[in-house]
Amino acid sequence: MIEARSQNTESELIQSIVLGDDKAINILYLEYYPVIRHFIEKNNGDESSAKDIYQDAFIILIRNIKRGTFKGDSTVRTYLYSISRRLWLKELNKRNSRQSKIRDIHEFLSTDDYNENAWEDRDKKIKKLGVALQGLGEPCGTILLDFYVNGLSMESIKSKMGYTNAGNAKNQKYKCMQRLRKIFFKQ
């Protein structure tokens, strides 16, 4: 039944995702999990690894759909498979010291066909930021995300974090940002 889904419906789903439709994301997610799970299990993985790899790959897919870097030159299936394959290969190599061999169940994009750096670099940086934020701890994590991402005013942040005035909150935010810059860009 999955094979019967026309290319048309898939591009409609992708269009919906670009426009912010969460339901389309869920539909796509459920559709391709079995393929990736099958792949992981065929390559020395269990269901829990399959879920982790799949979610990582899927997040990258959605990120690229929303940024416009996934344009549908390849099918979603091939794209997801290629990313999952690469993530799993890295994981396997972490576990054994020698190069692992992959038994493929699907065609995949070679690094010539698609710019691996397009997603891998960005993904690494986002994870690096996550680690940096964790290193900063609280209240910096919350203050920075609330101000720069969630759009809270200094006034709201002051109330939320319990500062005596908005000026204190602003100072705190400034210090947090300086620390973040230092941690992130030090190398």
Binding site: L19, K23, L30, Y33, E41, Q55, L129, N150, F184
Partner: protein
């Protein structure tokens, strides 16, 4: 220009709040001060990564939740895999069919709001006001009384809100129909702008406006997001509109998933609305726009109809090619999500505009 603090400007730049004058001051600082320029570059990268990070966290939660609907599998034998594929496929098909159903794919022809042959239980919420009598009280009159008074020049009021930061707005078709001239005015600034109607859809009762005044540059950033999702029964919603000269706040809840006579392009809310509210955005508790006010049921008190956001989306998709690449409020980040209701409204006030139509 010298009284600007460059760090204040940087913060405004990073949160999308610079006006034109501030922007040029900012670029000036950036060009003059190498150290500052580096800080700017690093901050831009960090803020972008923070946004991606938050999006990732949100998506992770969504996927984890979604994953729960996948049945736990048995050890993978070939049969089991196909069985799971079958179940996943059924879930996806079910999801697809419910989506198709709710967008009216399987229903018969939807009710057309503005058809003159239609029953008069429907009341368009554009308000006819005499230009000569600028009296506030007139706005409280029922539509019948207003229509029966004959004036030489009448204007009509409605509400509209931005779709793009560059100057597109949306309102109802019935507000601008047969207009000689359309203008918009904001509650906070009182500066009127001329607009032209660049798109009309009579069936959906939508119209898209574009600001034509060269003195206008942009809306200063759109703080809300328009979200295409099915409204939940009983969910709390609020609206901001112009049933009178100033913005009026109303709140209520979603009372039905469909509109008048089962119209699937709309849903029903319990907010009492009045003429002038046509085109008012309907917000959920996070400040996401899930629809716009269209009309009310004259026979049933406190029953109003809202065009679903899904149809705003399809209207945008039908815009002429030159607008295709505009960043619309559909993929805009919602900046008011975690604010209190009062704070959300206070941020939104300057973005909701009154439509003035000269017939």
């Amino acid at each position: 220009m010298n009284e600007y603090n460059k760090y204040e400007l940087l913060d405004k730049y990073l949160t999308g709040k610079l006006n034109e004058e501030e922007l040029s001051a900012f670029e000036h600082f950036r060009a003059e001060d190498k150290e500052f320029a580096r800080e700017v570059q690093e901050s831009i990268e960090l803020v972008g990564l923070m946004q991606d990070f938050e999006d990732t966290q949100t998506l992770k939660k969504q996927l984890a939740k979604n994953h729960e609907s996948i049945p736990q599998s048995q050890p993978s034998k070939r049969n089991q895999t196909w069985f799971t594929i079958g179940i996943a496929a059924s879930f996806s098909l079910l999801a697809v069919f419910s989506t198709l159903f709710t967008i009216g794919h399987f229903s018969s022809k939807k009710t057309v709001v503005t058809s003159p042959i239609q029953e008069l239980s429907f009341q368009d919420l554009s308000d006819n006001v005499s230009e000569i009598q600028g009296n506030q009280e007139n706005l409280e009159l029922k539509i019948k009384e207003i229509e029966s008074s004959i004036q030489t020049e009448t204007s009509r009021n409605g509400t509209c809100f931005p779709l793009t930061n560059s100057g597109l707005l949306v309102t109802n078709y019935h507000v601008i129909t047969e207009a000689k001239k359309v203008m918009i005015v904001s509650h906070t600034s009182d500066i009127p702008y001329n607009v032209e109607v660049i798109y009309k859809d009579k069936d959906l009762d939508l119209a898209i406006l574009k600001i034509t005044d060269t003195t206008f540059s942009n809306f200063g950033g759109i703080p809300y997001s328009i979200v295409n999702r099915i409204p939940k029964l009983a969910e709390g919603i609020y609206t901001l509109g112009y049933p009178k000269k100033e913005v009026v706040y109303g709140e209520g809840c979603v009372s039905s998933g469909s509109g008048y006579n089962g119209d699937t392009t709309k849903f029903e809310v319990s907010i009492p609305v009045n003429p002038g509210n046509s085109g008012s955005p309907v917000f959920d508790k996070y400040g996401n726009i899930i629809g716009l006010i269209d009309s009310k049921n004259k026979d049933k008190v406190g029953t109003s109809y809202v065009v679903k956001a899904e149809y705003l989306k399809s209207a945008i998709e039908n815009l002429p090619d030159e607008y295709i690449n505009e960043v619309t409020a559909f993929n805009q980040r919602n900046r008011i999500k975690w604010k209190s209701r009062e704070e959300q409204v206070s941020t939104l006030l300057s973005k909701i505009y009154r439509v003035r139509v000269i017939k």
